[in-house]
């Protein structure tokens, strides 16, 4: 199958999305599946990606189409070993700026983990962290839609346990 032939993906809400094979290969999960399966069996059949919503899958494929020429980064253990990002390339900055909605951003992050796209995963984690940076406790609660279940006594206890860290307050 040529790299520029089209593949159909089916998202959770039965939305079908067309993508080039080359872009799909950016997702290690799908790439491996296509390698293992017999071409004759898969040709023309939509690939079910039922774990990902159509909205998120659309954005993920948009990203993959742009980055389809890139070398697929080897999946290595996530975490400290990965080098620390300080900024994103310009196209990716705009890509994430256009997303706007934090729910969608988090879904993309989750989808890139499921589909194994290391670079998109790294970028989306970076963008989520950037969105939280500098926010106060109350702002983070409002932003992430979190309910506070700490009692005032418990909050006080956390503060006391960490009094060593804040000599001034």
């Amino acid at each position: 199958m040529a790299d520029n032939s089209m593949v159909t993906l089916m998202a959770a809400d039965h939305i079908e999305i067309q993508a080039t094979l080359q872009a799909v290969k950016q997702c290690a999960t799908l790439g491996t599946m296509l390698e293992v399966l017999d071409e004759q069996q898969t040709l023309g059949l939509p690939i079910p990606v039922l774990e990902v919503s159509g909205e998120a899958l659309k954005k993920v494929i948009e990203w993959c189409e742009y980055h389809r020429e890139d070398m697929v980064v080897e999946t290595e253990q996530p975490g400290v070993a990965a080098q620390i990002l300080t900024s994103l390339p310009q196209w990716d900055t705009e890509f994430f700026a256009n997303i706007g909605d934090k729910d969608l951003l988090i879904k993309i992050c989750n989808a890139s983990n499921f589909l194994e796209i290391p670079l998109l995963l790294q970028y989306s984690i970076f963008v989520i962290a950037q969105a939280l940076r500098g926010k106060s406790t109350e702002e983070m609660r409002a932003f992430l839609n979190i309910e506070n279940d700490l009692t005032p006594e418990e909050e006080q206890k956390i503060r006391e346990d960490n009094a060593w860290a804040m000599p001034q307050n």
Partner: protein, 277 residues
């Protein structure tokens, strides 16, 4: 660990010696550590989720928390019980609070936790190497979180933070640019082997100011020319200058401060061990 305990003696040859320099670091200017409390849970089991983040698996949450700056990470603990658990059981945070409480406390007390991420601090604590010369770096420069050895710290001007006004004159920067540079709040006290007394003040990072100046004026030469022209203009009106302010560091295990020669110098390499002229 006590230095003369059998364990310490057994591991002696695998570790770096403690030099016991009388170096007057930030550690010496902050109150003595209270013993850490037993690690009992400070709160009941969570009853609420962490909102929209809840769909992410724990390893991705850990990854996001690691990339938060330390100030935000600490504030995140008060969001709710689950958030507090996530931070308290974050391996990097746990490592820092277990082995390098003084580094974290130093960062918080000079208020540089806004731009140092948990991952960055953890990484610096895991390397022994001075970033300038590659020797053993026994100190941590807390303004921008860099490992540094005694010689680089005391001789290299980039580890000598300066008052905002001076940074603006020295690198020809407008006030708005200087306000965006990494800055620290000095804790009054005695610093450096020269026992320099320091009052309460704000200092900005030298290296960041230098880079900002070079970026603004296009090149190092253009910046130096602009600055020396401005200097000539000013000198015709007034004389005198400021003495350098000391740098503040916490170290592992103890910290240091540098007092380079007064930096009435206008020749810089790009931040590498340059002698003042």
């Amino acid at each position: 660990m006590e230095e003369d305990s059998p364990v310490a003696r057994a591991f002696h040859k695998f570790t770096y010696p403690r030099l016991r320099l009388n170096d007057h670091t930030l550690d010496d200017n902050l109150p003595v550590f209270q013993p850490q409390r037993d690690n009992d849970r400070s709160h009941a089991l969570p009853t609420a989720s962490i909102g929209v983040l809840d769909i992410l698996p724990p390893e991705l949450l850990a990854e996001i928390l690691c990339q938060l700056d330390l100030r935000t990470l600490l504030d995140f603990r008060y969001v709710n019980r689950r958030a507090a658990d996530l931070v308290n059981y974050l391996p990097q945070y746990k490592g820092i609070t277990t082995h390098a409480r003084n580094a974290l406390r130093g960062i918080l007390s000079i208020e540089t936790g806004r731009w140092i991420t948990c991952a960055a601090l953890y990484e610096k604590l895991c390397t022994p190497v001075c970033e300038q010369c590659g020797d053993f770096g026994g100190y941590l420069y807390l303004l921008t979180c860099k490992r540094v050895c005694f010689l680089c710290l005391s001789r290299n001007p980039i580890y000598l933070p300066l008052p905002p006004g001076r940074a603006s004159r020295k690198f020809g920067l407008q006030r708005q640019i200087v306000e965006r540079l990494p800055r620290m709040k000095a804790i009054p006290g005695t610093y450096s082997p020269n026992e320099k007394k320091v009052a309460k003040c704000t200092l900005v990072d030298y290296e960041s100011a230098l880079h900002a100046g070079v970026a603004l004026h296009g090149s190092l030469d253009a910046m130096l020319k602009r600055v020396s022209d401005a200097e000539v203009m000013r000198n015709s009106r007034t004389t005198g200058g400021l003495l350098p302010s000391p740098a503040f560091c916490a170290s592992l295990p103890s910290g240091l401060v540098s007092l380079a020669s007064p930096y009435a110098c206008y020749t810089y390499g790009p931040g590498l061990g340059v002698e003042p002229s």
